[in-house]
């Protein structure tokens, strides 16, 4: 018994030390570099800054090139909020009908959900379609793309969750003469809150951090997203490590806040959907 307790401590402390080296130090590195002056940061050493330039770096990143980072923050926020709002409603509608009603359409929909999970999007033809509908290089165009690419995974999560909602609830609403619209938005959607939270968190982090889709579908500086500005920033000014790391620090804050707030729900929702569904 005593040996086991010692083992537990030894293992735990080893794991904590390893985690500090492998996971904490790289992030500490980001923070330390973001505090340094340009010259000190360019040494890339892991030393404490002799001169704190945290606020200066922050202001410089934000105001640089006509506030492009600030504008990118607005773009990324709009992109994320709008995409995720529609994604939740559209995917929940499909997940609900798919779980409740057997039909030939369901077979087809099932196939497309699986295809959507597996098949890599054909990017250049998608550019061509976006040009055809006049939305290439626009924020609304990218929003539609992000919704489409997020559908399959979200539908799977919703569908798995609807199966845990008893049918008698729908039936009660039907007997009360509620319209399908009412039943869905008034009864079902509020009950799906845990999955709604999971989808919101997972997809927000995904879309906010997305790089490849903005790169292809939203080129140009005018409506760049934060990931694009960070990437362009890297290729233009490789010596300004202090600003680069400040930028990374800034754009990591929104996903981090989301995670801290919804930590428990995200774990619960992910596991119920990912392992059983």
């Amino acid at each position: 018994m005593r040996r086991e307790r010692i083992m537990r401590w030894v293992l735990g402390i080893t794991a904590i030390v390893a985690s500090i080296i492998i996971f904490i130090l790289p992030f500490a590195f980001i923070v330390v570099q973001a505090m340094k002056t340009r010259q000190e940061a360019s040494e890339l050493s892991f030393s404490w800054p002799t001169e704190l330039a945290f606020v200066d770096n922050f202001i410089e990143v934000i105001t640089q090139r006509d506030f492009i980072v600030a504008r990118a923050f607005v773009n990324s926020t709009v992109l994320t909020v709008v995409s995720v709002s529609f994604l939740v409603i559209i995917a929940a509608m499909v997940g609900y009908v798919m779980q409740r009603r057997a039909s030939r359409i369901r077979t087809v929909a099932n196939f497309f959900v699986l295809a959507g999970l597996i098949v890599p999007p054909a990017v250049v033809p998608t550019v061509w379609v976006l040009q055809g509908v006049g939305l290439f290089g626009t924020l609304p165009g990218l929003i539609l793309i992000e919704i489409t690419f997020g559908l399959a995974f979200s539908i799977l999560l919703f569908r798995a969750f609807v199966s845990t909602i008893p049918r008698s609830l729908d039936e009660a609403a039907i007997i009360d003469g509620a319209s399908p619209f009412r039943i869905f938005f008034g009864v079902i959607l509020p009950l799906m809150k845990p999955t709604v939270v999971t989808v919101i968190v997972v997809q927000s982090v995904q879309i906010f951090n997305d790089f490849a889709n903005p790169l292809y579908f939203l080129p140009g500086d005018d409506n760049a997203t934060v990931q694009l500005t960070l990437y362009n920033f890297q290729s233009q000014s490789s010596n300004q490590w202090n600003l680069l790391f400040m930028d990374i620090l800034l754009i990591t804050i929104p996903p981090l806040v989301m995670y801290i707030f919804f930590n428990r729900q995200i774990v619960a929702g992910m596991t119920s959907g990912a392992v059983k569904g």
């Binding site: 402390i13 996971f23 098949v119 999007p121 379609v129 559908l151 539908i155 680069l244 990912a274």
Partner: protein, 305 residues
């Protein structure tokens, strides 16, 4: 006899009516918004890609050239290399996520000091953007100024050029990918492990089974659904990967860390839209050829259980 038939008939009529109302409650038009988006922005481009991959294409003009793009893809060594690299990258990242993810999940579901801290810290890299992670590791792994090689030097080891040596660049990126994505694998495994009924472990304890025996004959088989999920998610992600490779090496040095995803982008950037789309079709075929049998196999196992 007659009463029986009317009874059946009435029953059927009632059934039809309730079915009717049930249908009314689950209208098919709920599929509509998703279907339109999926059709326009996913299905049409996918089908169109088969045709455009057979053309010399400028987005406005296309000339049918048959299989030329594919021949070029598999004949040019640097393009062909990307095909091999994609497979290596996909299987290395996925395999490492399964092994390390399961090991860490077993550790983190046991009674351990600092368990909650460890769980959150492993998940943290998932939240940082791939571009941010790429820039960070570019700095950390710099062959001359980088902290990693600096630390190795104090131990008397000369560290390699992690991202600048063509022999190891791809594997280094795979390592970074595992570092970043491990949190999700661990999370899925923890969920799978927690779902295993504790009675099995108690019975094994009574029988005096060794820890390894318990792991091999209880944990491993019962955590299979989670393994399936981890394999599927990480393989799909690994085979399609582009962001991290683009942010760390851009496919270099030379073409040593190019994958199909980065070739698609390079050809797109250079204006070779037909060739880029052919790369996409190759990726499509690779992913489908690998994923369909694997997911069928994993599903079958689940049914047998």
């Amino acid at each position: 006899m007659t009463t029986a038939t009317t009874g059946v008939r009435a029953g059927r009529a009632r059934k039809v009516r309730t079915l009717g109302t049930a249908r009314h409650a689950y209208p098919l038009w709920f599929y509509l918004p998703a279907a339109v988006l999926f059709l326009v922005f996913f299905a049409i481009p996918t089908f169109a890609s088969f045709y455009f991959s057979l053309t010399r294409w400028t987005l406005f003009d296309q000339e049918f050239i048959g299989l030329e793009n594919y021949i070029q893809f598999f004949r040019e060594p640097q393009l062909y290399q990307s095909f091999i690299n994609t497979l290596i990258y996909g299987f290395v990242t996925s395999g490492m996520k399964v092994v390390i993810g399961l090991a860490l999940a077993v550790l983190l579901t046991s009674a351990l000091v600092g368990r909650n801290y460890l769980r959150s810290v492993i998940f943290f890299p998932v939240l940082v953007s791939t571009i941010g992670v790429g820039i960070m590791f570019n700095a950390l792994l710099d062959p001359f100024d980088g902290v990693v090689n600096g630390a190795l030097e104090t131990l008397g080891i000369t560290g390699p050029g992690w991202l600048t040596n063509p022999d190891i660049a791809l594997l280094t990126i795979a390592g970074i990918d595992v570092w970043k994505g491990l949190g999700i694998a661990v999370l899925i495994y923890i969920a799978g492990l927690v779902a295993i009924p504790t009675e099995y472990y108690e019975a094994a304890k009574v029988d005096g089974a060794s820890k390894w025996a318990v792991f091999k004959s209880i944990t491993l088989p019962l955590v299979k659904p989670a393994t399936g999920t981890v394999i599927i998610l990480s393989l799909i992600g690994g085979l399609r990967s582009f962001d991290l490779i683009w942010a760390t090496t851009g496919g270099g040095p030379g073409f040593s860390s190019d994958v199909i995803g980065s070739v698609i982008y390079k050809q797109y950037q250079a204006g070779f839209y037909g060739l880029s789309t052919a790369g996409n079709v190759v990726l499509f075929l690779v992913v489908t050829a690998i994923m369909v049998p694997i997911s069928l196999m994993l599903n079958k196992r689940e049914v047998e259980q």
